[in-house]
C-alpha cells in the first residue's frame, strides 16, 4: 500500500510545464498559476468544494487533482468554516493551503475563522506562527446569478488587520498574483472577478514572481484630466470609460489598485496630484466601501490639488439585486461618465 506521502508526490503522466507567452482566459491563468505554484512547492495544496474531478464550478482547478492527487487537491465536506479552520491547522503544520470558496456569498460561514483566527494568529503568537493561507473567492456580479452569487464583500476583510486583500483585473496579473499570494507568509483574500473569468489576454508564463502585485497599484492608462481608480472587475469598466472620454477630448488616467489591503495610496496620490480629479469605481456598495477610504485619504493628502470632490461609483446600500436588475446596480460606463461630468462641473 502506498503511503499518503508517496501519493502526494505522484505526478506521473503530468503535462509538461507551460512556458512562453500564451493567450489565456483569466480563469485559465489562475489555473496555470496554481499549477506552477504546486510544482514549485509540494507544501502547496488546494481545498474546497467540488474542486477535484469537477475542477470547481468555474473550472479554475481543472486538471489539478489529476496531476497532484487527492492529498493535494482536496474535495472538502460542504462546510466553509471547516475549509478555513482546517487550513489554519495545516498551515501550522507547514502547509500552504489555497482554499476555494465557491461563491462570494458563501464566505460568511467562514467569516469567523478568517477574521478572528486566520488574521490574528501571527500577531497572537508574536510572529512565531505564520499563516500562509490563500482564500480564493469568485466575486462580483454581471453573470445573471441567483442570490449570493453576485456580491462583493471585500471591504469586510480589508477592515480586518492581518489580512491582505487583492483582486486581479486581467489574465497576466491573475497568473502572477495567485503565485505571489501563495508565496506570501501572510493570509491573502484573493477575490476573482467572476465576470472576467472568460476574458482573454496575453500571459507570460515565465513572468517573475515577487511581491509587487500584492502591494503596488499599476497605471493601466496614462491621462491628465481625471484619475479613475478601480480594481478587479471594475478596471475594464474604467478603461472603457477612459476610451469614451478620449472621444470627448478628456484624458483619463486609469489606476488598477490590485490590492485594497494594503492600499497603495502613494500611487493614488501621485496620480490625483497630477489630474486634480478622482473617481473611484467598485461593484461593492459605496457606503463604507473601499472608495470611502480612498476618498478620505485623497482629501487629506491632495486637498490643494483637487479641482473637485472625490466621487464614487458603485453598488447601492441594498441587498445585491435580482439578476434582472443587476446591470442598474453595477457601475456602468454611463454612470462613471456621469460622475466624471460632475467632477468637471466644479
Amino acid at each position: 500500500m502506498t503511503t499518503m506521502a508517496e501519493r502526494t508526490h505522484t505526478t506521473s503522466g503530468a503535462p509538461e510545464p507551460a512556458s512562453g507567452t500564451q493567450t489565456l482566459s483569466l480563469g485559465k491563468a489562475i489555473n496555470e498559476g496554481l499549477r506552477a505554484a504546486m510544482r514549485r512547492d509540494d507544501k502547496v495544496m488546494l481545498m474546497g468544494e467540488d474542486i477535484g474531478p469537477l475542477g470547481g464550478v468555474f473550472r479554475v482547478t481543472d486538471g489539478l487533482q489529476a496531476e497532484f492527487g487527492e492529498q493535494r487537491v482536496v474535495d472538502t465536506p460542504l462546510a466553509e468554516s471547516g475549509i478555513v479552520g482546517t487550513a489554519i491547522g495545516l498551515a501550522m503544520r507547514g502547509y500552504r493551503p489555497v482554499c476555494e470558496i465557491q461563491f462570494d456569498g458563501f464566505v460568511f460561514p467562514a467569516f469567523n475563522q478568517i477574521t478572528t483566527q486566520l488574521s490574528k494568529i501571527h500577531n497572537r503568537t508574536r510572529g512565531a506562527v505564520q499563516m500562509p493561507v490563500v482564500i480564493r473567492i469568485p466575486y462580483g456580479g454581471g453573470i445573471g446569478g441567483v442570490e449570493h452569487h453576485g456580491e462583493s464583500p471585500e471591504a469586510l476583510f480589508a477592515h480586518t488587520a492581518g489580512l491582505r486583500v487583492v483582486s486581479p483585473s486581467n489574465p497576466q496579473d491573475a497568473y502572477t498574483m495567485i503565485q505571489e499570494a501563495i508565496a506570501s507568509p501572510d493570509p491573502v483574500l484573493f477575490f476573482e472577478p467572476k465576470s472576467r473569468y472568460w476574458g482573454k489576454g496575453a500571459v507570460d508564463l515565465e513572468a517573475p514572481v515577487g511581491t509587487d502585485t500584492l502591494n503596488a497599484a499599476t497605471v493601466v492608462r496614462q491621462g491628465t484630466d481625471v484619475t479613475l481608480v478601480a480594481y478587479g472587475p471594475s478596471v475594464a469598466t474604467a478603461v472603457k470609460t477612459a476610451e469614451a472620454l478620449a472621444e470627448e477630448g478628456r484624458s483619463a488616467e486609469v489606476l488598477d489598485l490590485r490590492a485594497i489591503s494594503p492600499l497603495d495610496m502613494a500611487a493614488v496620490v501621485a496620480s490625483v496630484r497630477k489630474t486634480g480629479r478622482c473617481v473611484v469605481i467598485h461593484e461593492a456598495p459605496v457606503f463604507f466601501g473601499a472608495g470611502a477610504e480612498i476618498a478620505a485619504r485623497v482629501t487629506e493628502e491632495c486637498f490643494y490639488a483637487l479641482e473637485a470632490p472625490v466621487l464614487r461609483v458603485g453598488g447601492f446600500h441594498t441587498p445585491y439585486p435580482v439578476a434582472k436588475h443587476e446591470h442598474e446596480y453595477l457601475p456602468s460606463v454611463d454612470r462613471v461618465l456621469d460622475a466624471v461630468d460632475r467632477a468637471f462641473a466644479h
Binding site: S81, G85, R93, Q113, R273
Partner: protein
Amino acid sequence: MTTTNGSNEAIPTLQLLDPQGNRVTTRGSKGYRDRAAALTTEDLRGMYRDMVLTRRFDDEATSLQRQGELALFAPARGQEAAQVGSAYALRPQDYVFPSYREHGVLQVRGVDPVDRLRFFRGSDHGGWNPTEHNAAVYTIVIGAHALHATGYAMGVQRDGTPHDKHDGTAVITYFGDGATSQGDVNEAMVYAAVNDAPVVFFLQNNQWAISEPTTRQTKVPLYRRGEAFGLPSLRVDGNDVLAVYAATQEALERARAGGGPSFIEAFTYRMGAHTTSDDPTRYRTSEQEEQWRRRDPIDRLAALLRAEGALDEDFEAEIKATGDALSAKLRTGVRALDGGPVVPSMFDDVYATPHGTVAAERAWYEAYDAGEPPAPQYAIADSAQGGAR
C-alpha cells in the same frame, strides 16, 4: 460506575478510582486497568504533584486578579484530573490545542507559569511560542480551535509520519460542554472523520457553560455526539485521573497508529467560577457544589497514594515547597509583565511581510509620540502640497 444526566437513563462511564480513592473494576474496564496499572508510583506522584501545582496556580492567579494584577482569570479548579491525566498520556511529538482553561495541561507540557498568565494580565494575546511546546496558545472564540486541531492532524497525515502507537504523532483538542453546540466543533468532527485524521476530541464536561447547564446544550449524553460522527467515543469519570489517563492513552495510540479520531467526554465539574468576573451563586446551588467537593479529584488521588504508601510527609513537604516557590515566582513575574513599548509592540507582527498601511500608521504614531510635527501619513517624496495635517 453509572451516573445520570438529569434523566433516569444510566450512562456508562469508565471509572478506575472511586471517590474514596479505591481502585475499582467495572465491566469492560480491563484494558484500561492494565494501562493504569502500568503507571509507576513515581508516575502517580508526578501526576499528583502537577495536579496540586495546577490548583496552587489557580489560587495564586485568582489572588493576583483580586489584587488588580490580572485583568481576568479563568480557574481550572475541579478539572485537574481531566487535564493532568490526559496530558500525561501525550508524547513530546503530539500537539495540543487548548481552549483557555487548560492550565493543568500546560503545566504538564512545561509552559512557564508566568507565560500562562500573560494573556490574563493583558500584556499578550498569547504568551508562549507554540512551536517550543507543541501547544497552541489559548483560543477565546469557543470551539474555533477544534478545526485547527483537525487541520493540523491532516497535515500530520500528509507528512508521511509513521503509523506507530508510540512514534506516530497525534493531536488533541480540549473544549467544553458549551463548545459542543458550536458549529466549528461539529465541523471539526466531520472533517476528522472523513479524513481519518489523528486527532482526539477531549471534552471536559464541567456541567456549566458560564451560567447554562448542559441541559441547555444537549438532549443526549455528550459522548454520543462523537458516536454520531463515527468516532470511537467514551465517557470517563473526569475526576478520576487513572481513567482519564487510560482512556486518553488509548485514543492517542489509536490516532498515532493511523486508527483515526476519537472522542472522550471527561465528566467533571467546574468547582470555581467561570472566570473571576462570574458569580455562580446566581445560577447554581451550594448543595451541588458540595456534592462535587466530595468528588474532588486531588483528594481522590491523595487517598490512593496514601493507601499505597506513596504519600509521606517528606513528599507533601516537597510539594508544599514547590508550590510556595511557584506562588512567589508568579507574584514577582506577573507584576513585571507589561505590554512592552507601544512601538514596536502594537505594530509588530500584524503581518509577516511589510504592509504599507501599517508602516504608515506606525511612522505617524512614532512622530506624534515624539512630539514631532506629524509626518505625512504616506511616504510620498513630493509632499509640498500634501501632508497638510
